[in-house]
Symmetry: C2
Subunit: 349 residues, 2 copies
């Protein structure tokens, strides 16, 4: 692992779309945000909707008639890849807090090794939104020449104090939930309160105040639940957060969440060469597309602007696309038209 | 109470500065944000620093050579005014959740009754920041003619869904803390985790990402504590939040916090007359100053802009001051120069 520690027999779950060409040079490697699985788009094997449905497919922005697309579940996550919830082969019990320190660099390496296992020496493009937008930078800095192009979406070269504050409060909510039990929670009784609060906070920073004003305003709560008790929800925005929190509690493993969340705080591209531009110069990336959203409060547009500047200083041919979506950080999941246009144009060059 | 319910023998704590003139028409009534006491400035009786020290005093923006300034501790709070932590005279035990439903209107009325008890029929100006910026509107709408002027600072005519989301997550952290015990927590064991998380979240939205980037960047944590355990703080921003959280836990009563926080969500000026401007037209306020801060994420500048417009539609002579401070919602506590200039100019008219 990048910060020391060893992981034996790690597995990486991935899905693919399209066909690898004979030259093995049409691979697009896709990293995800904090919580999604490798199921970025539906396929004959799994027709359920993917987290980036509409972006990947024949004739779509990431065109599977042309590219062989590989999406990896992050190392440290809980959807098939090895993480804190996986069984430690040395003990037969889940790793939990015995999982080694995870870094964004390790997530990048896991993607790199996945390509190697597919006998792909060099990716055409490495793409990632949010956490993935950081992972692509760690990928480029660690493996010079291992990708021709990168697309970093709503990411950052180093977490801002605002994002660190948010994530550390989310982690604290989990860590202080009595049901967390030092990481040894049971399936029957996960730290549900901590995960609920973490998810609600996430939702606050994934969208924008502007979008919520248009979408929810001060409409009343849509449903009451039997256990609401005093101080029950009264507004639609509270019902919306509640619905998201409930879905999340059993969908994601709390220890995995803690590990990945902390890795995001710690990431600092400048650790690979002394400055952001020096790290990027090492990468030998030919072309970079940096996308940001003006209403993003978690990964602020200034961070993508500075990243694009660092790419330019590194001598990379760089496109910077500041988008005026109102959906905040999550815009890449929603405004497929604006994002698709930028990604398509970049990949078609 | 405005929403029904009765409170017997309520008391309001207040402090005053300056002298009431013979005409009894030089009163400036000051409402506070969510958590401060009535101690807005030092005085011979209490030389400790007030929460708006430097703003109120001889020759200062709120000039006590000219004005008789009264600051009230909000009804429902815990610094001398009656609130959920006070003893219910009917039972001799604290009200806790038996305290009647509290509204912003009740906080305004408590200030109005305080002036009446001082035999002041009409205030020269009613001033308030944050929650106080909402209370001044409730005051104006409920008591036509009871103030000549108002100053609403970083307030709103109705809480936004973003602010409701933030506050409802803060409340949830307290409500789900096992030590909250349905409001029946003990002095020895308050819901410290919930209050800590609520305060840290508050701090995130009281300041701005920009200020934090300049002030903290990615500097390391300034101190470690013995019980930090796994996932201990690593960055200075975490130490900063931690220090604020610790100070808050025993400084403010959790049930009071819940009551006032919910009152802020519920406030809707349009309830007093059908629209914001109709409510303000009833008030017979002659002049209004509305101040907002462009970096405020909790009470966004658009809210103050719309409020100023409502005052104008109501026929009030209105000044709108959008300030370019970087300290976010809390700017009124920090940038005394910019705020003082606006308030002084308005009061001198």
């Amino acid at each position: 692992m990048w910060r020391g520690g060893v992981l034996h027999g790690a597995r990486i779950a991935y899905e693919t779309w399209g066909t690898l060409n004979e030259a093995r040079d049409n691979a697009v490697l896709l990293f995800t945000g904090l919580s999604p699985s490798a199921h970025a788009a539906s396929s004959p094997e799994d027709p359920s909707e993917g987290w980036w449905e509409g972006m990947i497919g024949p004739g779509l922005a990431i065109d599977t008639n042309r590219f062989f697309v590989i999406c990896v579940n992050s190392l440290g996550s809980c959807f098939g890849s090895t993480g804190p919830a996986s069984l430690d082969p040395a003990t037969g019990a889940p790793y939990r807090l015995n999982f080694p320190d995870l870094s964004v660099e390790d997530i990048a390496r896991a993607g790199f090794e996945t390509l190697r296992s597919l006998e792909i020496e060099r990716a055409d493009t490495v793409v990632g939104p949010s956490l993935g937008g950081m992972v692509v930078l760690a990928y480029a800095a660690q493996f010079p020449g291992a990708t021709r192009r990168v697309v970093s979406i709503s990411g950052t070269a180093a977490a801002s104090p605002f994002a660190i504050a948010l994530r550390s409060i989310q982690r604290e909510a989990i860590l202080r939930d009595p049901d967390w039990r030092g990481g040894a929670y049971t399936d029957e009784r996960p730290p549900a309160t901590g995960m609920r609060i973490a998810r609600k906070l996430g939702m606050m920073t994934y969208r924008s105040a502007h979008e919520w004003r248009e979408r929810f305003g001060r409409q009343p709560a849509t449903e009451q639940t039997p256990d609401d008790g005093p101080f029950a929800p009264e507004f639609a925005i509270q019902s919306y957060l509640e619905a998201h929190a409930r879905r999340f509690v059993r969908a994601f493993d709390p220890n995995c969440y803690l590990y990945i969340s902390r890795a995001m705080d710690r990431f600092e591209l400048a650790a690979h060469g002394g400055s952001h531009s020096a790290a990027l110069a090492r990468s030998r990336v030919e072309r970079a597309l940096v996308i940001g959203v003006e209403s993003d409060m978690l990964f602020a547009i200034g961070e993508q602007q500075r990243l694009a500047k660092s790419f330019e200083e590194a001598g990379t041919a760089t496109s910077f696309a500041p988008l005026q979506c109102i959906e905040g950080h999550d815009s890449f999941l929603i405004d497929l038209e604006r994002f698709g246009r930028e990604i398509r144009a970049f990949l078609n060059r």
